[in-house]
Amino acid sequence: MSDNNDIVKVDARGLACPEPLMLAKSAMNRAGGKAVEVTVDTETAKGNIVRMAGREKRDVETREEGGLFVVRIGGKKA
């Protein structure tokens, strides 16, 4: 897990349900209004995080990087 000024990054690869979503959620809480990037390795974890971000009314984008998925959850809208 690494944080910098603009974005909070979380590595949730290889974890069973519901751990990737718990990590994503706690990162969102910790990030305040900042963006969060979660790296996961299954479509299931990716889909769960995208759905959660949607429920929280955040913008969400996913990209594939070498067989992994990076889910970027946008910051809170002002």
Binding site: G14, A16, C17, P18, E43, G47, R51
Partner: protein, 367 residues
Amino acid sequence: MRKQSGFMITKAGIIVTGAVIGVLAALLVKLGNPANMGICVACFERDIAGALGLHRASVVQYLRPEIPAFILGSFVAALFAREWKPRTGSAPLARFVLGAFSMIGALVFLGCPWRAWLRLAGGDMNAIFGLLGLFAGVLIGIAFLKRGYSLGRNHPAPAALGFVMPAIALGLIALAVVMPLFGRGADGQAVGPIFRSASGPGSMAAPIAVSLAAGLVIGYLAQRSRFCTVGAVRDLVLFRDPHLMLGLASLFAAALVTNLALGQFKLGFEGQPVAHTDGLWNFGGMTLSGLAFTLAGGCPGRQLFLSGEGDADAGVFVLGMITGAAFAHNFNLASSGAGPSPYGPAATVVGLVVVAVIGLSFREKAV
């Protein structure tokens, strides 16, 4: 996002999956499976353990084709969707133990979470105690998760590992069809290694082809939609996310309607099929089961689907369940229609202690 994921991961997708399972479960009863047991992952794995001679309870021995078909349906779905990913390394031995005790708890109640809902959909009110126990187990599991419980990360594995559970599934189906009899009993009579009950629940079964087809369809849909009867409760409590619960509600409603239409609904506590009326141990058995499933990341069906998509640790959990079933019958821990066995309650308490120790002691190292 790939197209084939599109529909099945939506609300409509999970609702369709639940409805198909509910209707097929009730139809499988009509076609010969035991009452309120159209599909029961725990009961069917217990029957498979018996068919393989791992226990010798003669009334619960049948190589149920639905179980290997679940694995193969999921395997095919994952291959098509490019989600087949061989992986392992998340404390497989702990998962084996969780699988074994989840089964011991399920056999005190007489059913897994799938059957708990199907029993209720058939009018068996005893299932309410089992479901309350299941909720309690999931809530305890959530408390452990919030304290930082984790069995750790899995890692990518060689492709060969991802073929092991599908290969075992194919082998089981071959044995179910061929039913070899090359063993010999004490008097030289042909017995096993594939046993088949002549009476009792193990003797009641839909035609093999129907069971196989139903299992393949369910395995396919459930892999795509991530259907999970334990995740349904967990996600609702932990994230207020009703997604998986919609699938479960759909399963219950579809099974209830189909049971009513087929005249398979019988309301009450007494005289329910393959069930007992001891509320305390219906509750206790499922508390153990629900906790073990939550700590392993999903219900017994989900473990089969995960094992099909390459998760070898889920495969180890399944083998743990089959082993647990053998212990449950060899050690006389499993309940019968008459009630819990004299040893079932103690085994449940032992199981709760062991599983709680796992819940308290496994932590993921900070990354």
